[in-house]
């Protein structure tokens, strides 16, 4: 197993629950995701798929590591605490949060990238089933 580089992020196994073709909340939606296949889950369809999926995470890690080297351990610790606090401010389960504070902390409020132009989650045509999602969140389901 290649422990360095993107090879280590390839999955070895997929949980069985993902194979149900029922649709609805929690199942595999054949209409929107296509047919289930082991190959599709394990291997990326495009060489950049893996690196793009983990881009934000790696970017944050790099920044924290630089910050730690320059200012000491306290700087990334304080910042990560702020990140954690700010991620908890969300709307109802089925509504997208603007994540304004998170964007400000990351510095994304002063830049435009493809995620702002293409496939904006705020303009998505599909939405989770509101009643079911709230019940799931409250543990009533």
């Amino acid at each position: 197993m290649n422990t360095r580089g993107l090879g280590s992020q390839l999955k070895d196994s997929i949980p069985v629950a993902e194979f149900s073709a029922s649709g609805a909340f929690g199942g595999h939606d054949t209409l929107r995701r296509g047919f289930t296949s082991v190959k599709n889950e394990l291997f990326p369809n495009h060489p950049l798929e893996l690196s793009e999926k983990t881009f934000q995470l790696n970017h944050d890690k790099m920044n924290f590591s630089t910050l730690r080297n320059i200012q000491g351990l306290h700087a990334p610790l304080k910042l990560q605490m702020e990140f954690k606090a700010v991620k908890q401010v969300q709307r109802l389960p089925f509504l997208h949060s603007s994540n304004l504070s998170l964007d400000i902390l990351r510095g994304n409020d002063e830049s435009i990238d493809f995620e702002d132009i293409l496939n904006d989650p705020l303009q998505s045509e599909v939405m989770g089933e509101p009643h079911m999602m709230v019940e799931y969140k409250l543990g009533l389901l």
Binding site: H46, P47, L48, S51, F55, E110, S111, I112, D113, F114, I117
Partner: protein, 271 residues
């Protein structure tokens, strides 16, 4: 399909773009991305920068646009010529232009060319060359005139004269022969015009007119077109035949008598 950008050192003379999997899928022909297959060039002269570009956009072996604009706005004092996939250069330059504007509002200063260069190379490297944009970036600011060439994989060069695109070799030959540092404006404009013309007449991927952009400390000239090198020909004669050219010898009219055999009415559901 994904289009790979031109690799340094030149893969082939045809704009250097390959469709991934074109060899693999024998049946379905993936539609070609609209490429520019271009000649773009830039030089540093006495007072600033001159950027030049041709105006032909190709879609495989067909000319898609006879007069497209390849010199893109980045900032009031910075412009960028783009070669490669037309959509990629257009979107990339617009994205970086927006980011640079936000950045300069944040710093409160006029944007620097080196900032635009850094933003472009970081983005292109992130996408590992899948964004097929080869750019010539030039501008004038507090530190003087700066000219960069940026490759699709993210490497950049800072030079006094650069060319990119499928006609880059023809244009570079002209530059290597005639470039001198600290040229006057008219001389420099003529040199860039000649370089782009060499690309237009010797490369199939480049053609039509020559656009120039002159950037200096106190003025900006966007000359489009600077030179209409390829005029469409005038038709010399008429090719229509007049009525009566062919003589009518005999005329025979036959009336077809048709009967109504069967009639059915189907109502439309217009509710």
């Amino acid at each position: 399909g994904w289009v790979l950008g031109a690799l340094r050192g030149g893969l082939a003379a045809v704009g250097g773009a390959w469709v991934l999997g074109a060899g693999a899928c024998k049946g379905l022909q993936i539609p070609m991305a609209r490429k520019t297959g271009t000649t773009i060039a830039g030089i540093v002269y006495k007072d600033g920068i001159i950027l030049g570009a041709d105006t032909r956009a190709t879609e495989g072996m067909v000319v898609a646009d006879k007069n497209c604009s390849k010199i893109h706005f980045i900032a009031p004092n910075i412009y960028c010529c783009g070669a490669g996939t037309a959509a990629d250069t257009e979107m990339t330059t617009q994205l970086i232009s927006s980011n640079l504007e936000l950045h300069s509002l944040s710093t409160g200063r006029l944007p620097r060319v080196v900032t635009a260069n850094r933003m472009l190379k970081q983005m292109l490297f992130r996408y590992q060359g899948y964004i097929g944009a080869s750019l010539v970036l030039g501008g004038v600011e507090v530190n003087g005139p700066h000219l960069y060439s940026i490759y699709p994989h993210g490497s950049t060069d800072k030079l006094p004269y650069v060319t990119m695109g499928s006609g880059s070799l023809a244009a570079m030959a002209v530059f290597e022969d005639n470039f001198k540092p600290e040229m006057e404006e008219e001389e420099a404009k003529q040199l860039v015009r000649d370089a782009i013309a060499a690309g237009i007449f010797n490369d199939l991927g480049s053609g039509s007119n020559i656009d120039l952009c002159v950037i200096s400390k106190n003025k900006l000239d966007f000359l489009r077109p600077y030179d209409v090198a390829n005029q469409k020909g005038e038709r010399c004669g008429k090719y229509k035949c007049e009525k009566g050219t062919t003589a009518v010898l005999t005329e025979n009219v036959v009336v077809l008598a048709l009967e109504v055999m069967d009639e059915t009415v189907q109502t439309m559901d217009t509710s």
